[in-house]
């Protein structure tokens, strides 16, 4: 599979057709999806139809969009008026959205061809893509392992060479952690950068939509398309898109990176520490100044996150009542009984647990002790990052995850172990900052049958608010100076 940039350029120049590219992608999906289970739905006819429209427009001399003919996959919590929008939940198993999410509309208007919807942890709640009515997605690098989550289907689709780019959502690390586990670049934009209109809400003060790609330039290309003010999302910022692709290949002179002391946690796998050291060495070789910083509140970010996110989820998911859409239980004796039974049947165990947790922390007598406390911690988490930027850092460099992809089933019975996957990522959502994960090496691990596999490791770069263009350049410097990215299926 060619890069998204090559596809868009080639389709615009009529070197090859969007239809041929789309057929190639659909062929890989047919071949690979039974192995990794990345898709909840594949839109064969709809994809060909979209591709032909792109080819017709190009043939008619209309200006080709920046994503002309690029096959793309959408996480199945992003509304599309074609197919179903399931959130991998029984609640929305048969839900047909009557409208397109703004992000989906922008991609299609830019010429992208939506080939399908990807698997996720139900309502984006999870770090492994195991909590899904469609069954777990498998990591293409080692199918006995998880791809990360909750955007695991999108990550697996790109890593398996089914699509060059895919779209995910990130509330506490759900783009960056799967990118790290699958050897990809995954970007969570600044809060407010991308409209969430049509993204099924999990935690509204944290959710952002962003791209997963094989390299920084493809990620920048898609990011630029996604960004922008939208009247349908009052939190979207009134700023022009970052134009991050334009200068992505330019090296930044005078780059200063901050590495928090907390990044060297003894809980890290050895491979993670090595990847961080290699990244620091590579940046120093490129002339960057790397300074030690302190993010003292980062040890408390997970605890604050698991108050704020469930609190917002308990409120957001109140809309699923079996009245206007979604699942309705049979045989209820009255309205309240119908609500309780429909929600019991419709939501899986992790979603129910987070709703319960959120309702508890917001309930009378507990609100101040939990919710208000978490919001104060949130302020301090943001202040810590702000202090690092005031000290001159252009970005903060740290691990994306404490370890590589874990085995399917390994953490599903231990919620706290699963939540600790988010230790390096949730603070960024609390602070609303842009961040990305980029491949930074790999570590050997044993696979089924005594074989050995190389599991990708990612590092995370956190930027200043709305500074995506610089963040993408900083990441691109590392990508071009090293061979950390794994060899990709079909060649990158």
């Amino acid at each position: 599979m060619r890069s998204a940039r090559d596809i868009a350029r080639g389709v615009a120049a009529r070197e090859f057709s969007a239809e041929s590219v789309t057929r190639e992608a659909l062929g890989v999906i047919v071949r690979e999806n039974s192995r990794v289970n990345a898709f909840t739905q594949v839109f064969h006819d709809f994809a060909i139809e979209q591709a032909r429209r792109v080819d017709e427009d190009v043939a008619a001399g209309k200006p080709a969009g920046p994503l002309a003919g690029v096959p793309i996959a959408l996480k199945d919590n992003i509304c599309l008026s074609h197919g179903r929008t399931t959130c991998a939940s029984r609640m929305l198993e048969n839900y047909h959205s009557p409208f397109d999410a703004t992000a989906a509309r922008k991609l299609i208007n830019a010429g992208a061809v939506v080939v399908g919807k990807t698997n996720l942890d139900e309502f984006a709640m999870g770090s492994s893509t195991e909590h899904s009515i469609f069954g777990p997605t498998r990591n293409p690098r080692d199918v006995t392992r998880v791809p990360g989550g909750s955007s695991g289907g999108s990550a697996a689709a790109v890593a398996a060479g089914m699509v060059p780019v895919a779209i995910g959502s990130d509330t506490g690390g759900s783009i960056r952690q799967p990118a790290a586990f699958c050897g990809l670049v995954g970007v969570k934009p600044t809060y407010g950068r991308v409209s969430r209109f049509g993204l099924v809400a999990y935690a509204s003060s944290l959710d952002q939509i962003g791209p997963l790609a094989r390299d920084c330039a493809d990620a920048a290309l898609v990011l630029d398309v996604l960004c922008g003010k939208d009247d349908h999302d009052a939190t979207s910022a009134d700023l022009p898109p970052p134009a991050s692709l334009a200068n992505v290949d330019e090296v930044l002179p005078g780059l200063v990176l901050g590495v928090p002391t907390q990044a060297w946690s003894p809980a890290n796998h050895a491979g993670v520490t090595t990847a961080l050291e290699s990244s620091i060495a590579a940046y120093k070789k490129l002339g960057a100044k790397v300074i030690d910083i302190d993010l003292p509140l980062s040890d408390y970010a997970v605890a604050a996150y698991y108050i704020v996110a469930p609190a917002e989820a308990s409120s957001n998911l109140a809309r699923f009542d079996g009245v206007r859409y979604g699942r309705r239980a049979e045989g209820a004796k009255d309205l309240t009984d119908m609500l309780c039974k429909s929600r019991r049947e419709g939501f899986g165990p992790e979603v129910r647990k987070r709703i319960m947790l959120g309702t508890h922390v917001l309930s009378s007598g507990y609100y101040d002790a939990y919710y208000t406390t978490a919001l104060k911690v949130r302020r301090r988490v943001k202040d810590d990052f702000d202090a690092a930027f005031r000290a001159g850092c252009h970005a903060v460099l740290m691990p994306t995850t404490p370890g590589p992809a874990f085995a399917i089933g390994e953490k599903i019975g231990d919620a706290l172990a699963m939540y600790m996957e988010d230790v390096y990522t949730v603070g960024v959502n609390l602070a609303g900052l842009p961040a990305l994960s980029i491949p930074a090496g790999s570590m050997g691990a044993s696979a089924a049958g005594g074989a050995c596999v190389n599991l990708p490791i990612g590092v995370q770069l956190v930027g200043r608010a709305f500074d995506e263009a610089r963040l993408m350049r900083i990441a691109r410097m590392l990508e071009r100076a090293t061979d950390f990215a794994p060899a990709h299926a079909g060649g990158a």
């Binding site: 004796k333 406390t373 104060k376 949130r378 301090r380 919620a415 706290l416």
Partner: protein, 103 residues
């Protein structure tokens, strides 16, 4: 890490507030699971947060007004077709009065 004491009665109350049907076995499982997560969350008590202003949302959350002009909306039929049960121009629901009435 100490276990946070929450009673089965409180678990049932939270389930009712969450509009989630719950069995006895599930109540016991939730009591255990929630206690474990809340026990971890209790580490926040170690922090001195006096004088810190809570941060609800990092974005620009001012109210935004717009002209009150009619625009395109989804057709009524489309919306009614999404409902599990509808009747003429209405969404049909079970009776509101009853044991669980006043929801």
């Amino acid at each position: 890490m100490h276990e946070h004491p929450i009673s089965i009665e409180h678990v049932r109350k939270v389930a009712a507030l969450s509009r989630l049907a719950i069995t006895d076995d599930e109540a016991a499982a939730y009591q255990h699971d929630l206690a474990k997560v809340l026990g971890y969350i209790d580490r926040l008590r170690q922090l001195d947060l006096a004088g810190v202003e809570p941060l609800v949302n990092v974005g620009d959350v001012r109210d935004r007004t717009r002209a009150d002009e009619p625009g395109p909306t989804l057709p009524t039929r489309t919306l009614l077709d999404m409902a599990p049960e509808s009747f003429e121009q209405f969404v049909r629901i079970p009776k509101v009065q009853g044991d669980g009435g006043g929801a």
